[in-house]
């Protein structure tokens, strides 16, 4: 298999094309939402939401088969988003509280799945996703869920950034913190819903966290963070699917697609981290810029 076939030709296959479309759109949205997760330090709460979705997926699957996955996950995710938002605002949240929600909901999900005939197969699909077996009729619901999250965050983006930077100032300026938190947590939940059906509940966190963290390494310009994170997500998703296909078909080594995608996300992050370390090291070796020297000499500047 040629490199061109792996990177481009593979996606002429219908199941690969669907996987690419859903995963790239999801990764772009997750990257944008993930920047806010990074700026607000909501990584652990996002982890709680990914697990809160699990019983919804399990119940949806038990009630409606694969068609029940998205509705079940959406209901569970939105309940989880509201509960976690209220926990945070009531001051009862802590790592312990999130951990309790996380493990409790996860165990409920496992209990529901354990009642099915194909326990291990279904559990694996829910945990690690089924990105290469997305049915044609599931594409539109997954895209719609992703785009709702994008619109919700996009419409409140200025205010979300203001709140992330200075929550007291944002409140004093008249912003409603509860409404903004609900919008952000619901958007995270919707990304988790779409991600849980593609890369699985365990791996979706990477789509949310890694692009935002990568963007922070690449730039300190606020409004560049969002396109950089979206681009990291889109390119990583494309390369992940291509590598998984190339290795599985070309080399005969069967790689799970979702895990391969996430591995590529992490490799891209590692490369950007390495580039950042090299850049910082070179900057330390370079002589101080005249501007820095001049400003340090201004009286009264502390």
């Amino acid at each position: 298999m040629s490199l061109g076939d792996m990177l481009f030709g593979a996606f002429a296959l219908p199941f690969m094309g669907r996987a690419l479309l859903v995963l790239v759109v999801l990764s772009v949205v997750a990257g944008i939402v993930g920047v806010l997760v990074n700026l607000r330090g909501l990584e652990f709460i996002s982890d709680g939401l990914t697990h809160a979705v699990f019983p919804g997926l399990a119940i949806g699957l038990a009630v409606g088969g694969t068609a029940g996955l998205v509705p079940g996950a959406a209901i569970a995710a939105l309940i989880g988003a509201v509960l976690l938002t209220l926990f945070v605002r009531a001051g009862v949240t802590s790592d312990a509280a999130v951990a309790v929600v996380l493990t409790a909901t996860f165990s409920v999900g496992v209990l529901v799945v354990s009642r099915s005939d194909d326990y291990s197969g279904e559990l694996e699909a829910l945990l690690f996703g089924r990105v290469l077996t997305i049915a044609p009729e599931d594409v539109v619901p997954l895209l719609v869920v992703s785009l709702i999250a994008a619109v919700a965050v996009g419409a409140t983006l200025k205010q979300q950034v203001f709140r992330a930077f200075d929550p007291h100032g944002s409140r004093a300026a008249g912003d409603r913190g509860l409404a903004l938190d609900l919008v952000l947590n619901a958007s995270i939940a919707l990304v988790v819903v779409a991600g849980a059906s593609t890369v699985g509940t365990l791996l979706v966190l990477a789509l949310l966290i890694v692009p935002g963290a990568s963007a922070r390494l690449a730039t300190v310009r606020l409004w560049w963070l969002f396109p950089v994170a979206a681009a990291v997500g889109a390119v990583s998703a494309w390369l992940g699917l291509a590598v998984g296909f190339g290795v599985s078909v070309g080399a005969g080594i069967d790689l799970p697609a979702g895990s391969t995608v996430v591995a590529v996300f992490v490799v891209v992050y590692a490369l950007m981290l390495g580039a950042r370390l090299v850049r910082d090291r070179m900057a330390r070796r370079a002589p101080a810029r005249p501007e820095t020297t001049r400003l340090a000499d201004v009286p009264g500047e502390r």
Partner: protein
């Protein structure tokens, strides 16, 4: 709001946090271009009063009119909080912080336009930081950050500006810059309420004083209110800075 009417009127007002702490008996009228110093010791209710005017602490007694209405119109009040606990690593430039002052007027869907950028530049010029506009906020000195936050409050084009302990921790250069800014704003017709411990600064820049310690002790022209008797009642046994000297005000006889 009428152009000639007071920007803020409090009549026997009391603001109280849901937890119970508050400040009572407030009678105050602030005209455009007037600066009022709110003076009192720590815990006297100065910040509670400012947050009450903002609508963040409930009004539990009396009445408040802001620009002639019960609630302030969007962007009418600018607020400079006490030195904010902000993440120095947050990837945001000074001009982006100042632009946040425009968000209330822009709403959710509109993005800043030319007029907003001009107002941000004007606010940065007013506080003397236009050359640092593109600097990351966390790289500024403490005094520059404080002036940057003041520029954010100015960018909202407020009719009433609330400054909560703005001189705390500032060196002389930044104190003088802040005082100059307050004078400029007064000349433009902005009403200002500034909470401070610093009686000398109140004399330099404010027209009137509101003395509080849980409740209002006095309100009026600076020299009428900052009498020894009022100061003793307000600051009993507390260190006070008067004319650049720090003294401990003795307790009232028999108080």
């Amino acid at each position: 709001m009428t152009d000639s009417g007071p920007v803020l009127v409090l009549q026997d007002a009391a603001f109280r946090h849901p937890g119970g702490a508050g400040v009572t008996g407030l009678r105050l009228s602030v005209d455009p271009g007037q600066a009022v110093a709110v003076i009192g010791p720590n815990g006297a209710g100065k910040s509670t009063l400012l947050r009450g005017i903002l609508g963040l602490v409930p009004l539990v007694e009396g009445s408040m009119r802001v620009g002639g209405a019960e609630h302030a119109a969007d962007g009418m009040i600018g607020f400079l909080p006490q030195s904010s606990d902000l993440d120095p690593d947050f990837p945001i430039s000074l001009e982006q912080v100042v632009m946040q002052g425009r968000y209330r007027r822009l709403g959710f869907l509109r993005w800043p336009g030319r007029r907003d950028r001009e107002l941000v530049r004007g606010a940065l010029e007013t506080v003397g930081l236009v050359e640092r506009a593109r600097t990351r906020f966390g790289e500024l000195s403490g005094g520059q950050r404080q002036r940057g936050m003041l520029a954010r409050a100015l960018a909202s084009e407020p009719a009433l500006l609330l400054l909560d302990e703005p001189f705390n921790g500032l060196d002389q250069v930044n104190r003088d810059a802040l005082i100059d800014t307050i004078r400029t704003l007064k000349a433009r017709g902005v009403a200002i309420i500034v909470s401070t411990h610093d009686l000398e600064l109140a004399r330099r820049v404010c027209d009137s004083v509101l003395l509080v310690n849980g409740s209002q002790i006095g309100c009026g022209p600076v020299d009428d209110v900052l009498t020894l008797e009022n100061i003793q009642e307000c600051f009993e046994g507390v260190e006070v800075e008067i004319d650049e000297h720090t003294v401990v005000v003795p307790g009232h006889e028999g108080h």
